[in-house]
Amino acid sequence: MLAMTETIATDVAIVGGGPAGIAAALVLRGRGVGRVTILEREADVGGVPRHCGHPPFGMREFGRVLTGPAYAQRLAEAARQAGVEIRTGLSVTALRPGARLDAMCAAGPVEIVAGRVILATGARESSRAARLISGDRPVGVITTGTLQHEVHIEKMLPFRRPVIVGTELVSLSAVATCRKAGIRPVAVIEAADRPTARRPLDLFPRLLGIPMHYRATIAEIRGRGRVEAIAIRLADGSMRELACDGVLLTGRFTPEAALVRPSHLVLDDGSGGPAIDQFGRCSDPSYFAAGNLLRPIETAGWSYREGARIGAMVADDLAGTLPPYVTTTTIVRGANVKLVVPQRLSASGHTGSLDSLQIRVDAATTGPLVARDGSQVLWCRHGRLLPERRILIPLSALQGPRAAGGTIIIEAAGSGSG
């Protein structure tokens, strides 16, 4: 190993220059924090919106509808004007206890010594391998993120006639990107009996004349060099072969927690991101986290607002006004609950914390979603629960006086799916 070539000392180091990271940086600068440094491994800040070549972005932040790239540019510009220090082409490689980071740039290794760190590394779609899809492993199986990057930034076409898998909101972006680039999808397939993102995905592909297959799963990808076909299993159990030159896997997001997993920070299996308290603090309280790293997946606008909130809490922490880091309550996932963020509550009574628990369920059910402490029901809501919908439980409902070390269970013990 070479000696460290460079040390960056900063009050707050923000890993990831997407909407969440930039929003946090803006608030911190606004609160008078001297050195706020964004560490971004790509050539530009802006995050995923840089290659979402379509609207709508920025309605709340900038009061107008922008395309992803225009929104990303606005964010970058705002950060520069606010005096945020921006280091691009710098890849953070390890998290060390006490807000110290290892990183790498073209010139060599970099060490970052910060007062606080905010992790805002975003989320990505699951790969073909992580989905354990059967069949050959030819060229041409990609995700929406790669498609958009390839089309909008590199100006290249990864395929001409793909099959699109999934009907999440991002699948709509995928269809739009294909259309703009002159790519003609052969079909959209979805394992459920309805689109995950209800509107406008139930209409959109049809309008474009793309066949939709519900209750259809990939049986196998076929092809030696490049994708030649996929075999799908239809609702009635029959098989069908679709000739195509690519497979576009959309959605099934997972937090980009590559730095967290091998680090000293506690990772939450439900969300796939770092476990936090309601102030965004990780298990090492010199680390905070914000944006889609916290859970799959919210919009850019949500991530931006969350980043701003967490930025404010970091400013409070630097000013010494954040409640001490003591877990008083652990939030536990019960039946049919996929994820809960935050996973811990520190002492209550501070305004400006995240104001709700974010919940997602595993499967569609009808019935109550309950938050309880032992047998005491703290919060309850009846109705339909859908896996793609975020459900919010106000923290105020949970923060009655309770013994330290308490546990709140969230469960959706309702019945039936479909």
Binding site: M1, L2, T5, R41, A43, G53, G89, S91, T93, M104, C105, A106, A107, G108, P109, R124, E125, S127, R128, A129, A130, L132, I133, S134, G135, D136, R137, P138, V139, I142, T143, G145, T146, H149, E150, V151, H152, I153, E154, K155, M156, L157, P158, F159, R160, K180, A181, G182, E220, R224, G225, R226, D245, T254, E256, A258, R261, P262, D269
Partner: protein
């Protein structure tokens, strides 16, 4: 194709065996050509294996296989520093999970000693767990084989053929040998890249070795029976739970599933053993992958819920017999290196030396003069535990963030004496796209950097939007 050139040796097949054979003949002074039908080396069995450098402790005693494995093992250790080839010294434990397993360990230990692997040692359950604290606690003991190690399965064959090429050999890709005739003194081979004249043919066609014999000799001395092995590769976080290679106690039916770190810092579980007729397709199957994951979790419970980074499958070029099918036909100036089923990565250098001896035993027109001062090319290190390019200055920038692959590495892999010929070849030379995100972040850039350079490219066209 250089019309008219007469080669001393044509090696058919650029798997690990062909690459090692081409190196041996070149260093021995033969004018050598390697003919590979794929766009790159490692287009067959050699692209997907467990990447273990075996001691031969459990190989058939007194067989050609064990002899070649042990010679190959020794030569790898001898030459690896000069070629900059990595070694992850892990050792292996053959772990008994029940009483029947435990009893079988006696025979395995005896076989190891018979094969000259004398440093094996029995471990009590407590010793096993002291060595591997994350292993499921219900082990009944193990046989420790300290010499079993992990290597980079791709840089080794690339190094062998690079050394051959840098010392004058030719390597031709997209050159399928489709026929040929022997006129009593030389072979005229037909290939999809034109004719080739050679004094000797070495058949290293792996999964197609018998077909090559049929095409050129009229009949085949063996029949290939492909045997597929599927694998699951876990996230690098899994490497914290394992040091030693965990081998199962083999039973009559199968050698069983291995759990091991890879040299790139992941953990892999596999392979399966599935007979099939197809020689081209090594598909993965979700249900099988799930059973592999379950087996890994049974061995190391902490792997439960561990993200899967990659899945793959390889085909072993097994034959109808459980042995290597190596033969020499002095009359027809032909050597076959067939049926190199499940130990060829280890045995390749030993097989190459064996082939050179078989050749030396044939009546020669002229004696070969070994090269006096051969070039020793140095490979790019991709092993996680050794210094990588990203840790050195002026690497351009990082293109693949998961595997920290630099632009300089990608450019080098696309140039150089043996440039990557397809997407798989580029991945194997650099690891770009082989990490956690499987190309989500980097594939677009890799597509741009490799534009116009690869067969079956990542991008099919430019986009005019």
């Amino acid at each position: 194709m250089p019309d008219g050139d007469l080669f001393d040796v044509a090696v058919v097949g650029g798997g690990v065996v062909g690459c090692a054979v081409a190196r041996r003949f070149t260093l021995d002074g033969a004018r050598t050509v390697l003919l590979e039908r794929g766009a790159d080396i490692l287009s067959g069995a050699s692209k997907a294996n467990s990447a273990l450098l075996h001691t031969g402790f459990d190989a058939p005693p007194a067989s050609l296989e064990v002899a070649c494995m042990q010679a190959g093992y020794r030569e790898y250790l001898e030459i690896r520093e000069r070629l900059n080839l990595p070694l992850l010294e892990t050792g292996a434990m053959v772990v008994a999970w029940n009483e029947a397993d435990r009893e079988r360990l006696n025979a395995i230990e005896a076989q190891a000693r018979q094969n000259g692997v004398d440093d094996v040692r029995r471990l009590t359950p407590a010793e096993v767990l002291a060595r591997e604290p994350h292993l499921a606690p219900d082990t009944r003991g193990a046989l420790l084989v300290p010499g079993e190690h992990v290597i980079d399965p791709w840089s080794a064959p690339l190094a062998y053929l690079t050394q051959a090429v840098e010392n004058g050999a030719r390597a031709v890709f997209g050159a399928e040998v489709t026929g040929g005739s022997f006129d009593g003194s030389e072979w005229a081979l037909q290939t999809s890249k034109g004719p080739v004249r050679t004094g000797l043919v070495v058949n290293c066609a792996g999964l197609f070795g018998d077909i090559l014999e049929q095409r050129l000799l009229g009949s085949a001395g063996f029949t290939i029976k492909p045997r597929k092995g599927q694998f699951v590769v876990f996230d690098k976080a899994a490497a914290a739970f394992l040091r030693t290679i965990i081998l199962p106690v083999p039973n009559e039916r199968t050698k069983g599933v291995v759990l091991t770190r890879t040299i790139f810092g992941n953990v892999l579980v596999g392979p399966t053993a599935e007979e099939q007729d197809d020689r081209d397709h090594a598909g993965v199957d979700e249900a099988v992958l799930r059973t592999l994951i379950a087996k890994a979790v049974a061995m190391v419970p902490a792997l439960a819920g561990m993200p899967v980074t990659a899945v793959y499958a390889g085909l072993r070029p097994a034959s109808e017999r459980k042995e290597y099918r190596v033969s020499a036909d002095a009359e027809r100036r032909w050597i076959s290196v067939g049926g190199i089923r499940s130990t060829g990565l280890t045995a390749a250098l030993g097989l190459a030396a064996h082939v050179a001896r078989l050749h030396a035993d044939m009546k020669q027109k002229k004696d070969l003069q070994p090269l006096k001062n051969p070039v020793w090319p140095r490979m790019t290190n991709l092993a996680e535990h050794l210094e990588r390019d990203w840790q050195k200055p002026d690497h351009g920038d990082i293109v693949c963030h998961c595997e920290l692959v630099t632009r300089r590495e990608i450019e080098a892999a696309l140039n150089g004496p043996l440039p990557a010929g397809d997407v798989g070849g580029l991945k194997r030379r650099t690891r770009a796209g082989m990490g956690r995100c499987q190309g989500f972040y980097c594939q677009a850039r890799v597509a741009a950097l490799s534009e116009g350079r690869l067969a079956d490219p990542l991008a099919v066209d430019a986009c005019h939007d």
